[in-house]
Amino acid sequence: MQQLDCPIIGRRPISEFVYGGEVRRPPPGDAPLADVADHAFNRTGQPTVLREWWFHRPTGRWFVLERNTLSNVVERVVPPQEVAYAIPTL
């Protein structure tokens, strides 16, 4: 079983994680349909180093990992600040 090596929690079996998919930034609330559809559906399907969300259930933590989806090697743990963005509020 594969292990993911994460800050604070250490090396953990992948069975303790929930896969959260590719990290993607949503379009603005009034974006044109093409942008909305692109964000809603399209994905980086080809093998690459992908930024992904992984949720560790026992400690209730999300991690952002850069994983090579061809070799299955995690190449980097990304600090969440790197993927954070501000959402417009009223």
Binding site: I9, R12, S15, P58, T59, R61
Partner: protein, 159 residues
């Protein structure tokens, strides 16, 4: 070598979250764990740091759920069991993928046990024992799983 399972350990549990949590602990005279996912012993229980500004306090204290200002104090109802005996970590090799034999005295760990999220605490002052706590709705299930491990005489360990 006997392995015993105490299925209901009587501890009061509280979760303290929000800014000012450390100050609140200090004000209550409670020990403060030095890092996330570590714990310090506290009477029959412990104080564990479960995350940024998040603490799990297990002890004998009776508090009220907090007033509506941070840090918030939330009552917890975790089901707590105690596994005792020199081979407690062997018993868990059936249920937990981690090598808990390496958990040092005083060590704290959060992992899936038999598919249920749990916290594990090895009291520094009580050799050969482990406290396990988890969502109480899984209590009957995990009790039955642990009982069957403890009762199974055929437990093997590479030796």
């Amino acid at each position: 070598m006997t392995l015993t399972l105490e299925t209901h350990v009587d501890l009061r549990l509280w979760e303290l979250v929000g800014s000012g949590a450390v100050d609140a602990l200090r004000a209550e005279g409670l020990p403060i764990p030095e890092a996330e996912l570590t714990a310090v012993e506290h009477g029959p229980g412990f104080v564990a740091c479960t995350g940024r500004n998040g603490y799990l306090i297990a002890g004998e204290e009776e508090w009220q759920q907090s007033p509506q200002t941070p840090p918030w104090l939330l009552q917890r109802s975790d089901w707590v069991m105690r596994l005792s005996g020199a081979r407690w970590s062997d018993a868990l090799t059936e249920l937990c993928p981690h090598d808990l034999g390496r958990l040092p005295p005083g060590g704290w760990f959060m992992a899936a046990v038999a598919g249920v999220n749990a916290w594990l605490y090895r009291p520094a002052s009580v050799p050969d024992s482990l406290l396990l706590g988890f969502d109480p709705s899984y209590g009957a299930y995990l009790e039955s799983m642990l009982q069957s491990v403890v009762r199974d005489p055929s437990r093997i360990n590479p030796s």
